[in-house]
């Protein structure tokens, strides 16, 4: 089952409805699909293409451009160790060596139990808290090898289930635009001057 399920298809249609052009929803729908299946499948690509009115090739082209979309299954937890400058200056290499040793996989690999995929990552916008890593994109600041081992233990034991959802679930809060409150989409081919701008904006 890798097309969007019924509930997610409804959600997808709601998301598409927020944009003046359906194709704009491509990335949000790819995230939705990854949340459902853990990775992106060809069936999901085809389904999203149908929904946004693009070709499968166009959706695939978008999908493969972005780092976060995985075309192959990954572990329950994606462990991304930042290697950009500030983190590198403060011990990112040592942290990565430790992680490879402790998880028993090289960067890019997944542990045999399917729990962890280890990746080398680029700047995570937390440079003052270096060295950094993310687990399913949740930031872990000022890491040490001890903190790393503790984190992996906690994840294995399920002690962080409430904090860190499994790979694919990006945000656990979604925007909801209530129909009765919505101002509505601004279609590019409907050249209407906004009401508050008319008559020089005298309201």
């Amino acid at each position: 089952m890798s097309r969007l399920n019924e509930a997610n298809t409804l959600l997808a249609k709601e998301i598409i409805g927020r944009y003046p052009k359906a194709r704009s929803a491509t990335i949000p729908l790819l995230h939705l699909s990854q949340q459902q299946n853990g990775h992106i499948t060809n069936d999901a690509i085809a389904h999203i293409a149908e929904l946004v009115g693009a070709t499968s090739a166009e959706v695939l082209g978008t999908c493969t451009f972005y780092e976060m979309f995985k075309m192959e299954p990954v572990g329950k937890y994606l462990v991304n160790i930042c290697g950009t400058m500030s983190c590198q200056l403060l011990g990112a290499d040592e942290l990565m060596h430790h992680a490879e040793h402790s998880l028993g996989v090289k960067a890019g690999g997944t542990t045999a139990d399917g729990m962890f995929t280890l990746e080398h990552a680029e700047c995570q916008a937390a440079c003052t808290e270096a060295p950094n890593m993310q687990v399913n994109y949740r930031h872990c600041h000022r890491m040490t090898t001890e903190k790393f081992d503790q984190l992996i233990d906690d994840l294995r034991a399920g002690r962080l289930d409430g904090d860190i959802p499994q790979h694919g679930t990006l945000a656990r809060v979604r925007q909801v635009i209530p129909a009765e409150k919505a101002a509505g989409v601004a279609l590019p081919d409907v050249p209407v001057e906004p009401a508050w701008m008319a008559d020089g904006g005298k309201s």
């Binding site: 872990c140 925007q175 509505g184 309201s203």
Partner: protein, 467 residues
Amino acid sequence: MSSYPWAAGYIDDGDRPKIVTSRFQHDDGFTLDRYHATGGYQGLRAALGRTPAEVHEEVKKATVLGRGGAGFPAGTKWGLMPAGKFPRYLVVNGDESEPGTYKDRLLMERDPHQLIEGCLIAAYAAGLSQVFLYIRGEMPLAHERVATALNEAYAAGYIGKHILGSKFSVDIVLHWGAGAYVVGEETALIESLEGKRGEPRLKPPFFPAAIGLYGQPTIVNNVETLSNLPWIAVNGAAAFTAIGTETSPGTRMVAVSGHVNRPGVYEIINGTTTFRDLLYGEEFCQGIRNGNELKAFVPGGGSAPWFTPEQLDLPFEGRQVGAAGSMLGSGAIMVMDHTTDIPKAALTLTHFYAAESCGQCTPCREGGTWLERVLQRVVDGRGSRADLDQLLEIGESICPGSFPHASSTTLGLAATPFPYKMTTICFVGPSAYAPVHSALTLFREEFEAKIVERKHIPVTVGAPEHE
């Protein structure tokens, strides 16, 4: 809302005027209750009491320089849209990913309502019919906080149809990125928002203000830029320009990271605070770690040419830093002490830009990759002297002519000012070269120290002669 393990809190306890980080002292600064209790949405109310043109004029007078990197004044940018062409859109650039930069994520996580209010004021003033708030994918906490804030703001009547009972109606749509540095470039951001690969568009002639999202006039503003607007709407442009200098009014968020004692994100007075204040000041970073010597620093994000201790007394001000051979970029300083392996530090940054090239322009796609490969060879001790010249030659094909760099009295070098020429559509290619050029210009002996001289061993062809 739970807190993640070791997601450290942030406190800038300096006694300075705070415009955008005033609520960071509160753990619940992201809630609507706290926002209301600290003057929230008063800027929107003040704006709605005036005409859009009046609000636009006020923002123009405040001269809020864009905080994303280019430093273009926001009010002027809004004025570049062709008159009478509708609809117009606002795209909020929350795709922060320049190496060293850490401010927009904080603003989204810690004060999302301030950003939302800023978007509303911009939409009202510039006649923007729909707002898209593009947040970098790898920031789920920011997504959750902004989504919650948007939901609260819709329920309270701040967003949507007839905002606060006025004629002003606009939706703000939260959009998710998915991991691509180049999307921080405004035209790539628009492509990405249209559901495509994030490849920057060719410009000039057409900038997004003329032809942007879906071919319509579009304003792309950075998160920090917009977060300044509620304060300006309440306190006025004169109060804003009273802080900072004439060319750089207001405050600025600056992240200082690397080998300092107290790395942090500080809201500084724009234009007057010097790099020495930031690196050594008591209220800022309190010096280099372990009492070490400062070797070099990157003054404005990974794309910026490097400075050495000789530039410490320059103020954090765009024109002076530009004349000195670098740029302020996105407000990110990365500090290297005397223990730093300079060629390796340059390699780290070049690797970043080579990996993040979108692949559209050959000089960046190929040049970035070759810069990385040749530099890697040198760092690994397998390089030759010719490799060092080749690095400059590759750079020349991305940025023809003289590339900006800092002055150095010890080397007898005068500064080459910003900007540079480039053979690529956007700044990713030149950014791959910037660290290589700076490091090679200022610290060439460190590269040469890694070159292992090879002995010439004569080879005899054919069988050895026997007596």
